[in-house]
């Protein structure tokens, strides 16, 4: 078997080499309009990769291309009459009259949809996924954060009439967060959870980057926005007053020995950091000498036997299973770890089995594997899916509860929406205190949904907001989180 794999690999290597040789594929040179004809210039040496690209970029069906590469000279495909002519040196031209466009008549809304598609194709809305961040302010009091309260200070602008703070924390609302004048500058306080935020000041209507903040990133408008991190961890190292440079590094920084510089504050070194929820290992470097955090008892040994300090960000959730005193091994598995069957071995306690586990906020399906037998969590009434695919469901960091009153005789009530891909087997609601409920974690933003009561789809009767859908029956609309209003 191994032998065949090696042969396959060899072939794929050759194929890759061939592609490199044929790297003449310039999307800007494939298609042109000439005297009313839409003309594609194709290289007969192109392989499957280039053909796939042609299909993707130009909607040229693979069957049509197959005809071209078979040497056909006239091809009728989906009502369009294509012709092929050789132009020498392994090149052909595939062409047809452009007047195919006259058939449809594209209305304006459809055009906007297309433009939107093509704009998004270009990746303009891509979001970075940093795992940590450290602030870089020139002015110490330009940003102060303590106890989830953030204070922003913009010095100067004494002649301005109105200054607002707008950023990712208030959906860039230019009129929601006014600043007050202190005589020397403008100040505002707002409650912010730990995290990364981008912002600008709006001085008499004019977007203004924070002059005290050295951190910026390019925003959707193509111009820089200021970036601030609300920290959820402070690295501290006492002593070492005579050290010249103390840095921290770890898996979050690819163990880069240059590290992130800590600040000397009297008899200690400190660095406030924002971390995305998860597990991290780290060490300090004091004048290039490695050391674990002396005040952190949590350590983990790496594969080479080095002891690193260990840090969990986020509240661990305690998964537990009562009973099963005679079981030899109980494993927790779920969508949070790719349904790995062996990674999360639970600990045996006097009353059953448990495992504290840090998972970012989100909706998760899970099961226990008791001595090889898969089972849902008997203590959790919330499930998703049905039959063999029914799993226990948990919303960690739940920020919304779907609720449907009445329908006391209903047997099966589900909620489906944009958050679970409108899965009709989706989230099974539970009857509690005269209503059907289902708690979920919803990302900040817009969500559309419906209830399914004994197979019948319905709008949320308690929600006035709905929008039309393609069936003319409407979908309920819900905005959540910081980006809502």
């Amino acid at each position: 078997m191994k032998k065949y794999w090696i042969i396959l690999l060899l072939f794929s290597g050759i194929s890759a080499g061939q592609n490199t040789i044929n790297a003449l594929f310039d999307p800007g040179k494939v298609c042109r309009i000439e005297d009313g004809q839409l003309i594609f210039t194709l290289n007969l040496r192109w392989g499957e990769k280039e053909k796939k690209e042609l299909t993707g970029l130009f909607d040229l069906d693979s069957l049509l291309l197959a005809g071209v590469y078979r040497g056909e000279t006239e091809i009728t495909f989906r009502g369009e009459n294509w012709k092929v002519k050789k132009t020498g040196s392994g090149m052909v031209e595939l062409y047809k009259p452009l007047d195919g466009m006259a058939d449809g008549g594209t209305g304006k809304p459809q055009l906007y949809d297309l433009m939107d598609q093509w704009m998004n194709f270009r990746g303009e809305t891509a979001e970075e996924q940093e795992v940590y961040g450290v602030n870089r302010f020139r002015l110490v009091n330009a940003f102060v954060y303590a106890g989830n309260l953030a204070q922003f200070y913009l010095p100067g602008f004494e002649k301005a009439n109105r200054v607002y703070l707008a950023g990712s924390f208030n959906n860039w609302n230019t009129a929601a967060t006014p600043m007050r004048f202190t005589g020397k500058g403008w100040i505002t306080d707002l409650r912010l959870a730990p995290g990364k935020y981008t912002y600008k000041y709006v001085v008499d209507g004019r977007w203004t980057i924070d002059p005290s903040n050295q951190l910026t990133e390019r925003g959707g408008a193509g111009t820089p926005n200021s970036v601030v991190f609300c920290p959820n961890h402070v690295f501290r190292l006492k002593g070492f007053q005579n050290a010249g440079r103390v840095v921290v590094t770890g898996n979050f920084h690819q163990w880069n020995p240059r590290g992130i510089a800590m600040n000397q504050l009297g008899d200690r070194w400190e660095l406030p950091v924002w971390f995305r929820e998860g597990t991290y290992v780290y060490k300090f470097l004091v004048d290039n000498r490695w050391m674990a955090d002396p005040e952190n008892p949590g350590t983990r040994e790496d594969a080479s036997g080095n002891l690193n300090s260990f840090l969990e960000i986020g509240e661990p959730y305690l998964f537990s299973l009562s009973g099963f005193p005679d079981a030899r091994k109980v494993v927790l598995t779920g969508s949070f770890n790719g349904w790995d069957r062996g990674e999360l071995v639970m600990n045996h306690t006097g009353k059953g089995w448990e495992l504290p586990y840090v998972v970012p906020a989100g909706n998760y399906a899970y099961k226990f594997i008791v001595d090889g037998r898969w089972m849902t969590d008997p203590s959790n009434p919330f499930t998703t899916g049905s039959g063999e695919t029914q799993n226990s469901f948990i919303a960690l960091g739940a920020n919304h509860i779907f609720e449907l009153r009445d329908y006391s005789t209903a047997q099966n009530v589900l909620v489906a929406g944009s958050f679970n891909n409108w899965d009709p087997q989706g989230y099974r609601m539970v009857r509690k205190e005269g209503r059907w409920i289902f708690p979920v974690y919803l990302k900040p933003g817009k969500h559309t949904y419906k209830f399914i009561v004994d197979g019948k789809w319905m709008l949320d009767p308690a929600n006035d907001l709905y929008e039309e859908n393609q069936y003319g029956t409407g979908n309920s609309v819900l905005w959540t989180g910081q980006d809502s209003r």
Binding site: N19, F25, P27, G28, V30, C31, R32, I33, G36, L38, K49, K52, E53, T55, G56, L57, D59, G100, M101, A102, D103, G104, T106, G107, K108, P109, L111, Y112, D113, L114, M115, D116, Q117, W118, M119, F121, E124, T125, W172, N173, T174, A175, A176, V202, G205, R206, W207, G220, A221, T223, K446, L465, Y466, E467, E468, Q470, V477, D483, S484, R485
Partner: protein, 335 residues
Amino acid sequence: MKFKLHIVACTVILFTLTSFQISEEVVISLPGDEVYRARMGEAGSMALFPLTEPDTDPVIIPLKRAGRLFLFDAMVDGESGNIIFDSGSKSVVLNSTYFRNRSKSVKVNSSGITGDVDQVSEITVSSLAFQGLEYKNLTVHLAGLGHIETKKGVKIIGLAGFNLFRKHETVIDPLNNELRLYRLDADGNRITKTPDFIPDEQQKIGGSGNILFLKGTIGDKQMNFCFDTAAETNVISSHSGKQVLNTLTITRRTTLKGAGQSTAEVLFGKMNDFSIGNHKITGMETVITNLSALTETYDTHIDGILGGSFLEHGTVCVNFVKSRIGISFTKENQK
């Protein structure tokens, strides 16, 4: 009307040939005809004037971007959210998701797409306010804008064009992401002494409507373009003739499939030979498609639309009192 758009998602192919390619069929439901009728409805297209204005001159309205759409924050009868600045709209249109419970009347447009029952829902709102400007007792149109909200991920309460800004000289400044509204005297001159807008190109505004048209040339042919800030790229009519179409580079094509056998081909590419006045702009992205259905509704023939791709190249100043539209092109070192 429902079109099925077959698109192969090849997100990064434009940038690298070695990218892995994922194919999927994207089905897009297009509820947009209602939006289109609401934008083009005559009933709500009268010029609107603010009853309250801030002391400052100019009034600066900070613009936000969603893709290449320009948005500004506004409050309509207590409902806050974003309004799309849409110079291609005759009227103010509010999102039915948030305003559907108002008492509404149905009006028939005097002009419209041939063959359609061209009705538009109208409501009256007490107040539309942003950046210290407040408009009272407005008659506006209603349409479902939920599909734009979903795609852009932001709350859209409506869209509005120049019928809000006819009293001022309006400068659309994409470089600084702001609209500047200057107060004018009866002759259309700025009341407060500020340096005048110095256009590189100036054209007369034709007609009396809220939609503006610009004359440009491609391949030496003079073209009439609609100026539309809500179009994320430019558009060129597929009926523009050989001398125009031969100058374009085509980088993408798709086929929209309508009811029955009907299809509409749409191309995407670059404009290599576009000029406006004495200024040449190369490399602007453009869609190429059949615009005949659209042309009828503008009361004038159009050869294309200048939208987001055009606005990347300059600042536009509109003065309805003087019937002038001017463009100051962004110099390379300003970008």
